[in-house]
């Protein structure tokens, strides 16, 4: 039987607290801009692959080869999962997850917020893993030429950028709430 930690908080789940990066308001807006740019970049890398697939021609050295593979709906699924996870993660009240706001009377709200956060991150990680699986199963194992492998690479970078965007947005927004908390005390 071990002794409880000195700063023991029964509502806390993780041993390590959330990273408290103290940025001022200016850096917060830069973070939000960066998150938006990453989001749009992610969308456009995948749409580039989709548009390219729509206009794809067979390789110039052997025209009889044909276009072996196209971007179909299956390729859209990991991105849709990532966007769903992105929305869920960013809809959650950051203070509620941390569990240190004074006005949360019951622990149920904190528990539910953490559950939704888990679901959101699971959606995003599932999107990323799905894109990698899709690249391996649909493109890499069939040994297509490099111009068709690009569809899989675009899909993976799309999901990585969605995740980075969510992380940047989370950091930018949670840093400011900490700032506000210090000021109001």
């Amino acid at each position: 039987m071990s002794l409880p930690r000195s700063n023991y908080d029964p509502r806390r789940v993780c041993v390590n607290p959330f990273p408290n990066v103290s940025l001022d308001k200016h850096k917060r807006s830069i973070g939000v801009y960066l998150a938006g740019a990453l989001f749009a970049f992610a969308c456009w890398t995948f749409w580039d692959a989709a548009i390219l697939s729509r206009h794809a021609r067979p390789p110039s050295d052997e025209p009889a080869y044909g276009v072996p593979v196209h971007v179909t709906f299956v390729d859209w699924v990991p991105g849709i999962c990532s966007v769903l996870g992105f929305i869920i993660v960013n809809l959650i009240d950051k203070d509620r997850v941390r569990g240190d706001d004074a006005f949360s009377g019951d622990g149920g709200a904190v528990w539910r917020a953490r559950l939704f956060l888990f679901i959101g991150f699971a959606f995003m990680a599932g999107g990323l893993a799905g894109s990698i699986a899709l690249h391996v199963l649909k493109y890499y194992l069939h040994e297509y030429p490099e111009q068709f492998l690009y569809y899989g690479y675009a899909n993976m970078s799309q999901n990585v950028c969605f995740m980075l965007s969510a992380v940047v947005l989370w950091l930018a927004q949670s840093s400011s709430s900490e700032y506000e908390y210090n000021l109001t005390l």
Binding site: K25, R28, S29, V32, Y33, L34, A35, G36, A37, F39, A40, F41, W44, W47, D48, I51, L52, R54, H55, L169, Q173, S176, S177, Y179, E180, L183, T184
Partner: protein, 130 residues
């Protein structure tokens, strides 16, 4: 006031050059898809302008984490990146020529830079009266 007048004239000149480049990139190859870039960059400052009013309270804007302002910034950034990415994607799939892509990107950058510079200059003049 003379400096302000010169600024306005210079900015309008740059704006005209930007639109000229975009329209030229469409008209030279008779492919009017790059005109979407002009539309995108004209729309780019709109979310910031709309949602900026939501957090414009003189006291709370300093401290509070304003969600609507963040939504505006996020959308602005998304639209700006879209404006740059659209011609690149179109050129990549060989819908438009690379030259048209470069011209529309430069033109769009000039248009958006004009809008940014105009709003910054206007804000500066406004703060002089305080």
């Amino acid at each position: 006031m003379a400096a302000g007048l010169k600024t306005v004239i210079l900015l309008s000149f740059v704006l005209a050059v930007g639109f000229l480049l975009i329209i030229l990139s469409c008209a030279l190859w008779a492919n009017w898809l790059p005109l979407l870039v002009a539309l995108t960059f004209v729309l780019a400052p709109l979310p910031n302008a709309l949602f900026g009013r939501c957090s414009a309270d003189d006291f709370s804007a300093e401290y509070e984490s304003s969600g609507p302002a963040d939504v505006g910034r996020f959308l602005t950034s998304v639209i700006v990146v879209t404006g740059f990415a659209l011609p690149i994607v179109l050129a990549h799939s060989e819908v438009i020529r690379p030259a048209a892509c470069v011209m529309s990107i430069i033109g769009g950058g000039l248009v958006y830079g004009t809008i940014l510079a105009y709003s910054a200059a206007f804000r500066q003049e406004e703060s002089e009266f305080d």
